[in-house]
Structures are given as structure tokens and as C-alpha cells.
């Protein structure tokens, strides 16, 4: 069985053409990127605002409770409801993107909110006290300090989207999920398994890239990547988010499809 999967993965014909792995991979990345961008544009500013003002925290709780809704159900329900109202390509792309965006919002919102809400109150107070405007406090102090949790949220959301986009092939979305769904329908296990391997590798690869990005943009003062002086760390690092919180599932929102 393994040899058949390997054969399928390595044969040139499975990679070529509009139904090949190469094209499907790009499609999958494209859907995922669009989704994460849209969801981020909606959820991150909102999360920052909730964290900064302390108002509207119920929205984070509400978004969090979305986790209990099965993503597969949401996908089918929205496809059934929106699909007939649309024409052509968009009939199956739009419902999927809508669901993916909805599912990506909770981790993004929670990450941005928790990041800002967790900023050391003394640092925020000092920022006001030295004459920063609200905008300066947000951009110069709160956002940089919130970055670790905010980016953890982006990573969780991205994984969620990549996974759910795979399932979305069941409502005719393109991307790598096609191999899994079509392989299943045709009883071609080597195609299914090969596609599954590519999806898994894609998820791992994207997460690794995001982790590296996170390490690059988060200030070493926050990430604890200052091992040279670790012996000197003091009691004053009160609850600052550290790099060890970067793995998925910390922000209190685990999203998975």
C-alpha cells in the first residue's frame, strides 16, 4: 500500500495539469491566505480594541463558544443556504470562504484580545504617564507586547483554515482536499493517502514558517530568547507572555476542522 502511495506521490503525472498536486497546492494556499487575511482584517483590530478599552469582552466569549459548532456542519449548512443564491464558480467558493473566515475569527480575536489585555498594567500606566496619546500607547506599547499571543492566534487560525479548507472539498471547493474526497469516492486509497500526506506536510510547513516569522518579529525582551542572562531574570517578569506559549491551543481557543 505504501509503495502505491509513494508511486502516486512521485509520478510526474499526478503533479501536472489543473488537477495536479502542484495546482491544487497553490489553490489551497490561495484560499487559506485570502481567508486568513480577511479574518485578520476583521478580528485583529476588533480584538485590539476590546483589549485596549476593556469594552465588549462578551464578543470574545461569544466567538469562543463558536468552537462547539462542528465545522463540517457549518460548512454544509452555509453551502446549502448560500450556494443556490450564487452563480458559477462563486457558488461553491464563496460559501466555503465565508465559513473559513467565520472559523478563523475566534482564535484571532482571542489572541489579539488576550495579548493586549495581558500587557503589564504598569507599562501601560507608564506609557500614559510619559505623555503618549491613546494611539501611541496602542501602537508603541500594547501591540508589540501583544505580538506573541496575537501571532499564536494567527497560527491557530491558519491551521484551522488549512484543515477546514480540506474538508471544504466536500462542498466542491478546489485545493488539496479534492484528492481526499475524490479518492474516497473512486475508492483510490493511494490518491487519498497521498493527498493526506501533502496536506499534512503543507500544514507543518506553513506552521513552521509562521513560527519562524513569529520568532523574528517578536522582541527578544518578550520571547525570553535572552538565554545569555537567564540567571538574572527576576521576580518582575510578571505574567509576560513568553515564547513557550507559542504552540497552538494556548490562547484558549483551539480551532480545528
Amino acid at each position: 500500500m505504501i509503495t502505491q502511495v509513494w508511486q502516486w506521490l512521485t509520478s510526474a503525472s499526478s503533479w501536472e495539469g489543473s488537477a495536479g498536486i502542484g495546482h491544487r497546492l497553490l489553490q489551497h494556499l490561495e484560499y487559506s491566505a485570502i481567508t486568513v487575511l480577511i479574518a485578520s482584517a476583521l478580528a485583529i483590530p476588533l480584538g485590539l480594541w476590546i483589549g485596549h478599552t476593556g469594552r465588549g469582552r462578551w464578543m470574545v466569549t461569544a466567538a469562543n463558544s463558536l468552537r462547539a459548532v462542528p465545522s463540517l456542519g457549518l460548512l454544509f449548512a452555509v453551502a446549502l443556504w448560500l450556494g443556490p443564491k450564487l452563480h458559477g464558480n462563486s457558488a461553491y467558493v464563496v460559501p466555503s470562504i465565508v465559513v473559513l473566515v467565520v472559523l478563523a475569527i475566534p482564535p484571532l480575536l482571542a489572541g489579539a484580545y488576550a495579548g493586549v489585555a495581558g500587557v503589564d498594567p504598569a507599562a501601560r500606566d507608564a506609557a500614559h504617564g510619559m505623555g503618549m496619546t491613546e494611539g501611541q500607547v496602542l501602537l508603541q506599547v500594547e501591540v508589540p507586547c501583544a505580538l506573541p499571543l496575537m501571532l499564536s492566534g494567527v497560527r491557530s487560525a491558519t491551521l484551522q483554515v488549512i484543515a477546514t479548507a480540506t474538508i471544504a472539498s466536500a462542498v466542491s471547493l478546489g485545493g488539496l482536499g479534492r484528492f481526499l474526497i475524490d479518492g474516497l469516492a473512486l475508492g483510490e486509497y493511494n490518491v487519498m493517502a497521498g493527498g493526506a500526506i501533502v496536506v499534512a506536510l503543507l500544514a507543518l510547513g506553513v506552521d513552521t514558517v509562521l513560527a519562524a516569522l513569529q520568532a523574528a518579529v517578536v522582541s527578544p525582551g518578550l520571547s525570553g530568547g535572552t538565554s545569555r542572562f537567564r540567571g538574572r531574570r527576576t521576580r518582575t517578569d510578571r505574567g509576560q507572555p513568553t515564547a513557550s506559549e507559542n504552540e497552538p491551543g494556548v490562547v484558549g481557543v483551539v480551532a480545528k476542522g
Partner: protein
């Protein structure tokens, strides 16, 4: 409503299957995560490998993992064991971190006092560390439980029977009511899991209630 009453027996049956597929892995995952998380918390060297490693497992999309299980453990694609094991893997991926964080949160002075009283390490773990770790552990379990219930429904795409069936079947028959019933049933099941864990944690930590009062 007529769909529910007409299919009540079937719904209950699938709900029980669903609970089994989501719940058993929760239990197995906790059982495995305890020693692994303990190890991660004890060893500075092992910690990054265990925590990051289990985190990586979590990145694998569920449908992909369901499909790959036969390749790894040699089962048939329709075998519920695939789902049980895949879900156990996800549970471990979430809980190793929770366990190690929960144990790390046990105050050092409490631990030292227990050692000074003459607890052996193993007994201290069971009598002191573990009870004090319950609140953080319960939080991790709640996340895992709700996530498990949602993910299990995906297994209906590979033909494994549980509540997810109403989602796929409803879609194929373009029957919105059936999808709605599936969603509601899943949410209710997730809430039941969540509530059970909350109640269990409360029973296990009577001292927390005293503080809250």
C-alpha cells in the same frame, strides 16, 4: 421536529457512538498525557521536544489523519479504531502542555513542604501535585473535549457512523433540517462534555469553592 421524533432512536444511537468516539480518546489521552507531561515538566532537556513535538501532531488536519491511520496501523479505512487513535493523538497533543503547565503551577513551597513531611515522590505526585493541578488540567480537558466532539463529526466523510452522518446526509439530500439537527446534537453533546468536566473538577477541588464563597 418531525425529523427528530421520527428518528429519535437513531439519533440517540449515533449520539452514543459519537460520545464514545470523542470520550474514550479523552480518557486515553489524559492517561498518556499525565506521565508525558510530568516528564516534560521535570526535564528541561525533554520539555521542548515533548511540548513542541505534541504541538506538531496537532497541526495535521483531521481528515488527513483519519485517512492516514490505516497506512500507519494497518486497519481498514472504515474501522472506528482509526478515529479513536487519531482523536487520542489530538488529545495528547493538547494535554501534554496542559499537564506540564498545571504541574508547573503547583507552588514550590507546597511541594517542598510535602517532601519535608516525608512523602515519597510518587505519593507526593498523587496526593499533592495532581489535586492542585486539577483546575489547569480541567481547563485543558474542556478545550480538548469540545474540540474532539467537533472533529469526530468529520469522520462521517470517511463513512464512520456518528452524529456527523446527519451533516453529510443532509447535505447530499439538500435537507437543511437534518443538518440543523446534526449541528444542534453536536453542540449539545459538546456542552454535556464540558459541563461534566466542570462538575468533576469542582467535586475534586472542594477548597476552591471555599475560596469563591
Amino acid at each position: 421536529m418531525s425529523f427528530v421524533s421520527a428518528n429519535w432512536g437513531d439519533i440517540v444511537h449515533r449520539a452514543l457512538l459519537h460520545a464514545w468516539l470523542a470520550g474514550l480518546p479523552l480518557f486515553l489521552g489524559l492517561l498518556i498525557s499525565l506521565p508525558v507531561g510530568w516528564l516534560a515538566q521535570r526535564s528541561r532537556v525533554l520539555r521542548p521536544f515533548l511540548v513542541v513535538g505534541s504541538g506538531l501532531l496537532y497541526t495535521i488536519p483531521s481528515l488527513a489523519l483519519f485517512i492516514l491511520m490505516p497506512l500507519i496501523i494497518g486497519t481498514k479505512i472504515l474501522d472506528p479504531l482509526n478515529v479513536i487513535i487519531a482523536m487520542t493523538i489530538y488529545t495528547i497533543a493538547l494535554l501534554v502542555r496542559s499537564v506540564s503547565d498545571a504541574l508547573a503551577a503547583v507552588p514550590a513551597d507546597v511541594r517542598q513542604a510535602a517532601t519535608a513531611m516525608g512523602y515519597t515522590p510518587a505519593r507526593r505526585f498523587l496526593a499533592v501535585d495532581l489535586p492542585l493541578a486539577v483546575p489547569v488540567l480541567a481547563a485543558g480537558l474542556r478545550v480538548a473535549a469540545v474540540s474532539n466532539v467537533s472533529i469526530v463529526s468529520v469522520a462521517s466523510l470517511v463513512g464512520i457512523s456518528q452524529l456527523g452522518f446527519y451533516l453529510t446526509d443532509g447535505y447530499e439530500r439538500t435537507y437543511g433540517t437534518e443538518i440543523g439537527v446534526g449541528i444542534v446534537a453536536c453542540v449539545v453533546l459538546a456542552l454535556i462534555f464540558d459541563l461534566t468536566i466542570v462538575l468533576l473538577a469542582r467535586v475534586l477541588t472542594p477548597w476552591q469553592r471555599v475560596n469563591a464563597a
